[in-house]
Structures are given as structure tokens and as C-alpha cells.
């Protein structure tokens, strides 16, 4: 204990060198830890969001974009596909397909995406209702846990959607009825928490037949919107994604007629309803196979080669994302390890140069009864203390840093990172830091051990 105190005081008797070592330690450790935190959590989220989806079918374009848009909800759509084109995949009797879920994206409310889909979508993520009900009629929405929390949405609240994925007040759809919150999901730990779900026909209705004139800001649509007011409307592209023109179609009539507020309003029923509007568009189909076999293996290829559709394999595309992320992470990790090594060197040099001035002190300790082993330990402890303190600072830095990063990506992508989560693997970073501390002090400690006290004391 007394030795520990002496180590501690020795460290602070050379404040400049010690502070430099600590800063380097904290930077190296902090960078490594923050990389681990962000990587692990992003991977977790990516894996969670795979949700057993085997195939995504959408418009031609980049397969990665198709996946990112329709499964991860972080990119723009590749375009639209019509119900008629994907009709075979919506057939409940398809021999290969267990589930196929239509997805229509294109609108948002305060950057949270509104997804037009069937109830089967929520089943992909095992989502349970926390409050309220599933959406049954057009303009009814059931919202993810994170959306409800962040936007303080409650059952009975209404809001107007906005076109695209930015919270842009010029793109608010104020010509249609506001959406009504009818239910809130339990947290699922998946992307569903960040989404607002409604029926496919709601999306069609919003983008369906309506006039293009600018609405006055005090439009009557605003009347029943309470605290979740939307913004003034300037102009908006009324069409979902690709410029395909819906003007002229009036779907609101038959959509409203078809929607029956019943608990049987499940995926299959909805899929059948979709089939009655073959000319309408959706963004993609999410597909789960019954079994993986050689037929499912060749299905994407045959779709890509023989149709105007694009089929993409989520697992494959996500591995490509990892590979791209990996290059950047690897470079940063190498930098972090370099900093950690330099911090070890700085401890080494700081101890070594302090020994020159401390030879007499070390001899004095021997005179007063300390053994060689004690001197060895004293120096090791100084290295260890620096490493430990550096680790603690780095740990704090990493979690604060992850918090800042989480704030940045939450705004951009609606993905959340828990900065306070401590990974089990962080224990290895701690152990490595301590190991660096020990290694850096081994040689100085050995020199202290070998101090020739007679010679040192004779020189006065």
C-alpha cells in the first residue's frame, strides 16, 4: 500500500511526462474501444434486421441499394415495381416462397420512414403491440417504439407525412387526411423500432390522385392536427420514387371501400387485396423461402435475367457492406494500435529518464530496508498505474465519443447506438493496456533492481 502511494507520488513528481503518457494512452485506448463499440452495435443491428429475409425483389439498380433501402431503411429506393410484375411472388401457393411482404417507401414523418405494407412485415421482426391496435384502415399507422418515444406520439395523435426521407417542410403532403396513430409496438431491437407502419393502400392514397396546386398554409387539413403539427406546404413531387406518374388514378375510393377493420386483416388477406390493383406500384417485396434448395438458389438469377425486376440476397449484400466498412475500420484500428504502442514507449522513456535522476532515491530505499524486489515492483507499479489511469480515461473518452457518434448517425440514419453499453470484449482492451504498462516498465524496473547502491551512494 505504501509502495502504491510512493508510485503515485512519483508519477506526479514528473507531471509533464506523465500527462503526455496518459493522453497517448487515453487516445489509443479510446479509439480502439469506440471502434469496437460502433462496429459491434452496427453489426448487431444489421444481423437483427436480416429478420430471416432470404430475398428482396425490387426495381433494377444497385442490389446493395435495394437491400439498404428496403431492409435497413438507410438509402433511397432503386425505383418502383408494379403489383402486376410481381404477381407470381405474391401467390400464397408459390412452391418456394413461405412469406412475401410488400414494402412501399417514400414518405417520412420528421425523418422517420413511413412504410406501406401488410401486417406480415411486423411478424418478420416478431413485433408485439405495446398499446393500441394494428392499422386496419387507410391513414391508420402503428408506430415503432423508438419513433413513439422520440416524437412523443400517443394513440389518437395525428400527423401529416412528408415526401422523401428528409424532414423538409416544403414537401409535406397536406392535401390528404392526416395519419392517425392507432398503435405502438414493443421495442424489438430491430429497424422496426424506427419505422411507422401503415397499409400499402395508404401510401397509394397519399401519392394517388390529388391536385398539384400550392395549398395555403392554413389548409383545413391542419385543423385536427394537434401538437404534432406539420409544416407549410410548398410543392412536392407527388410520386413515390422514380418519376412514374400516378396522376389521374383515383384510388382513394376503392381503397377505403376494401379496407375492413377486422382482426383477420393479416398478410394473406392483404396480399390478395393487392392483387386486385395490378397497375399499382410498390417499392419491393421481402421474401422468405420455405426451404433453401437448388431451386431457391437459382431463383434470384432467373429473376435478374428473365424479368425487369431485380432480386438481391441480403446476406450477400450485407457482407459486402462489412467488407467496405472493414477497410476503414482496419485503417483506424491500425492507427489506434500505433498510438497505444507509442503510449507504451512514452511510459518506457519517461520511466527510464526518471531513473537517472532517481538512482540515489532507489539506493536510499535499499539503505532503509527495501529489497531489490521492492524497487523492481515500485517501477512496475508506476508503469501499471499510468496504464490503468490511461485506460480509465480512454474508456470514458470512448463512451463519450460513441455517444457523440450515436447522436450523429441517429440524426442521419435513424440507427441508434447505445454509448453506455459495455462490451465483454472491452476487458481484453483493459488487459492489453495493463500489459503495455507492464512491458513498458520491465526494463526500467530491471535497471532499478540492479542499482549498485555502494557506487551510487559513494558518488554522493
Amino acid at each position: 500500500m505504501n509502495l502504491l502511494r510512493l508510485s503515485w507520488k512519483n508519477i506526479w513528481s514528473r507531471p509533464l511526462a506523465s500527462v503526455l503518457s496518459l493522453i497517448l494512452f487515453a487516445l489509443g485506448i479510446g479509439l480502439i474501444t469506440v471502434l469496437m463499440l460502433v462496429n459491434a452495435q452496427l453489426k448487431d443491428q444489421f444481423e437483427n434486421n436480416l429478420a430471416g429475409i432470404d430475398l428482396v425483389i425490387g426495381a433494377k439498380g444497385s442490389p446493395m441499394q435495394l437491400i439498404l433501402c428496403n431492409m435497413y431503411h438507410i438509402d433511397a429506393p432503386t425505383g418502383n415495381i408494379s403489383i402486376g410484375e410481381v404477381k407470381p411472388f405474391l401467390n400464397p401457393k408459390h412452391p418456394l416462397i413461405e412469406t412475401s411482404v410488400p414494402v412501399s417507401v417514400g414518405d417520412n414523418y420528421k425523418t422517420y420512414r413511413i412504410i406501406g405494407t401488410t401486417h406480415t412485415f411486423a411478424d418478420l421482426y416478431d413485433a408485439q403491440l405495446a398499446q393500441g391496435n394494428w392499422w386496419h384502415a387507410d391513414y391508420q399507422v402503428t408506430v415503432g417504439a423508438q419513433v413513439a418515444k422520440a416524437l412523443h406520439l400517443h394513440i389518437g395523435d395525428t400527423f401529416l407525412s412528408s415526401h422523401g426521407f428528409d424532414d423538409n417542410e416544403d414537401l409535406v403532403h397536406d392535401h390528404h387526411s392526416p395519419f392517425l396513430v392507432v398503435g405502438i409496438f414493443e421495442p424489438t431491437g430491430s429497424v422496426l423500432d424506427q419505422l411507422i407502419l401503415t397499409s400499402t393502400s395508404s401510401v397509394w392514397a397519399v401519392h394517388g390522385n390529388h391536385d398539384h396546386e400550392d395549398h395555403p398554409s392554413d389548409s383545413t387539413d391542419h385543423a385536427d392536427v394537434h401538437d404534432h403539427d406539420s409544416h407549410e406546404h410548398g410543392e412536392h413531387g407527388h410520386d413515390t420514387q422514380d418519376g412514374h406518374d400516378h396522376a389521374g388514378h383515383d384510388h382513394s375510393a376503392h381503397d377505403h371501400r376494401q379496407v375492413a377493420p377486422s382482426d383477420q386483416y393479416r398478410g394473406q388477406v392483404m396480399a390478395e387485396q393487392l392483387l386486385t390493383s395490378p397497375e399499382e406500384d410498390i417499392t419491393a417485396l421481402l421474401i422468405r423461402y420455405k426451404n433453401n434448395n437448388h431451386l431457391t438458389l437459382s431463383l434470384p438469377r432467373s429473376i435478374n435475367e428473365n424479368t425487369d425486376l431485380q432480386a438481391a440476397n441480403p446476406a450477400y449484400e450485407i457482407n459486402r457492406v462489412y467488407a467496405m466498412m472493414g477497410t476503414g475500420t482496419e485503417a483506424l484500428r491500425a492507427l489506434a494500435i500505433l498510438i497505444a504502442i507509442v503510449s507504451g514507449l512514452s511510459v518506457f522513456f519517461s520511466l527510464l529518464s526518471s531513473l537517472k535522476d532517481r538512482k540515489y532515491e532507489l539506493s536510499l530505499l535499499r539503505v532503509m530496508g527495501a529489497g531489490r524486489g521492492t524497487l523492481f515492483l515500485l517501477i512496475i507499479m508506476e508503469g501499471l498505474l499510468l496504464a490503468l489511469l490511461g485506460y480509465v480515461l480512454g474508456f470514458i473518452l470512448a463512451h463519450v465519443g460513441a455517444g457523440i457518434f450515436a447522436g450523429m448517425i441517429a440524426e442521419e440514419y435513424q440507427y441508434s447506438i447505445d454509448a453506455l453499453r459495455v462490451l465483454p470484449t472491452e476487458i481484453w482492451v483493459a488487459l492489453s493496456a495493463l500489459l503495455i504498462g507492464v512491458f513498458a516498465s520491465l526494463l526500467p524496473a530491471w535497471q532499478a533492481y540492479r542499482t549498485d547502491i555502494h557506487e551510487t551512494l559513494s558518488q554522493g
Binding site: 505504501n2 507520488k9 532515491e361 532503509m368 559513494s458 554522493g460
Partner: protein, 213 residues
């Protein structure tokens, strides 16, 4: 009666130089003696041999009934911490610690709890009460030497060795420091051996041993 310190036919040589034969010493309990020699006569070497900081080529040294050269290194370090207090020509300290902490460290290193009351008492007695919590580098040379005397005394060692304790001091400080050493050694029954070439000290000691140059 048993002697506290007895050194017999101790010889030592540095690599490549001639053997240094050192005079025998006999010192009784609480006795005080002066070991005189000019510079280069091996005074400090002898003191280090007696303190067990150095091992001789041949010879035998008994301190309070213990043949110290028969001890292993770790035991010798511990024995020295317990039984021998050393005052050096130029006092050195652990610079990261305060006056009191430096003295307390001597007690801690032999496994004792610091006796803060006694440290205070000694500091007051030697006129250093106001400096107790200061860092060592704020002290004057004379003050430092007095603190080093307290540090040498604090474990109530059987033997106190002083290596030129006064050579860096002026006459006034010289007298006061040597008197302090003698008084404190007497007060706690420690034997005192002062190694010096400082003839100002000759009159202060009855027993003198001369080193051949």
C-alpha cells in the same frame, strides 16, 4: 560483555586495485566513536562495508550478535533497515514526498506503522516543526541534515553510522548537528560511529580509530 559491533580483519579490493586492509573495530552498546581518515583512505568504503551495502573480500562483522555477511541479500536489506541508521554526507530524500512522509517511509519499509507522534516530537526537538509538511527542496542544507538524522533515528536502530555528516556545514551548524547526533544516540541507547576527515569533530569523541592512508 558482548560488543554491539565487532569488525575483524576485513579486507576489500576494487577490481584491479590492491587489497584494502581495514582496522578492527570494537564498539560496545551505546558507545560512540570516531573513524578518522583523510580522503581517499577508504572511509566511505568501510562505512558501506559495516552497513552491509558492500560485501568484503574477507573478514567477519558482527552487529548485535548477527554475522551480517552470512545473511542473504534480502535479509541483509531488512536487517539494515531495522538495526542500522545511516546519515550521509549529502542528505538525499525521496523528492516526491514531504518531510514527514520521508521519515515515515523509513518506518514503513521495515513493516512498521509510522509513529507520527514521535516524528512530530523529533521534528519539534530539532527545530523543524514548521517544515513538517513541506517538500524537501524547500529546506536549507542544515535543515536537510537534521531531517536525515531524524530519519536515521526513527526506527531506534542499535547502530547509527554517519558518513562525513558535517563536512558540508559551517562551524555553527557543524557543532549543532554533531551534538544532536550524540544526544539522540544517547537518548535512545544507540551506538554511534562517525566517519570523517573533519578535525573539528576530534574533540567531541573520546574513542578514535585512525584509518591508514
Amino acid at each position: 560483555m558482548s560488543q554491539l559491533l565487532s569488525a575483524h580483519s576485513i579486507s576489500f579490493h576494487y577490481p584491479g586495485s590492491a587489497d584494502l586492509h581495514l582496522p578492527d573495530i570494537e564498539l560496545g552498546v551505546a558507545e560512540q566513536a570516531l573513524l578518522l581518515g583523510s580522503s581517499g583512505s577508504g572511509k566511505t568504503t568501510y562505512l558501506h562495508l559495516i552497513a552491509g551495502l558492500l560485501r568484503p573480500h574477507s573478514g567477519k562483522l558482527m552487529i548485535d550478535g548477527t554475522d551480517i555477511y552470512s545473511l542473504g541479500e534480502r535479509q541483509l536489506d531488512a536487517f539494515r533497515g531495522q538495526n542500522i541508521g545511516i546519515v550521509f554526507q549529502v542528505p538525499h530524500f525521496l523528492r516526491a514526498l514531504s518531510v514527514t512522509e520521508n521519515i515515515a517511509m523509513a518506518q514503513r519499509l521495515v513493516g512498521k506503522n509510522p509513529d507520527l507522534y514521535r516524528i512530530d516530537e523529533l521534528l519539534t526537538e530539532l527545530g523543524l516543526a514548521a517544515k513538517r509538511d513541506q517538500k524537501i527542496h524547500h529546506l536549507s542544507q542544515g535543515e536537510k541534515q537534521r531531517v536525515s538524522i531524524i530519519r536515521a533515528l526513527i526506527n531506534k536502530p542499535r547502530l547509527i553510522l554517519a558518513d562525513e555528516p558535517t563536512s558540508a556545514l559551517d562551524d555553527k551548524n557543524c557543532t549543532s548537528v554533531i551534538n544532536m547526533l550524540k544526544e539522540q544516540a544517547t537518548a535512545q541507547g544507540s551506538a554511534l560511529l562517525v566517519v570523517t576527515h573533519d578535525h573539528r569533530l576530534s574533540k567531541e569523541f573520546d574513542q578514535k580509530i585512525q584509518l591508514a592512508s
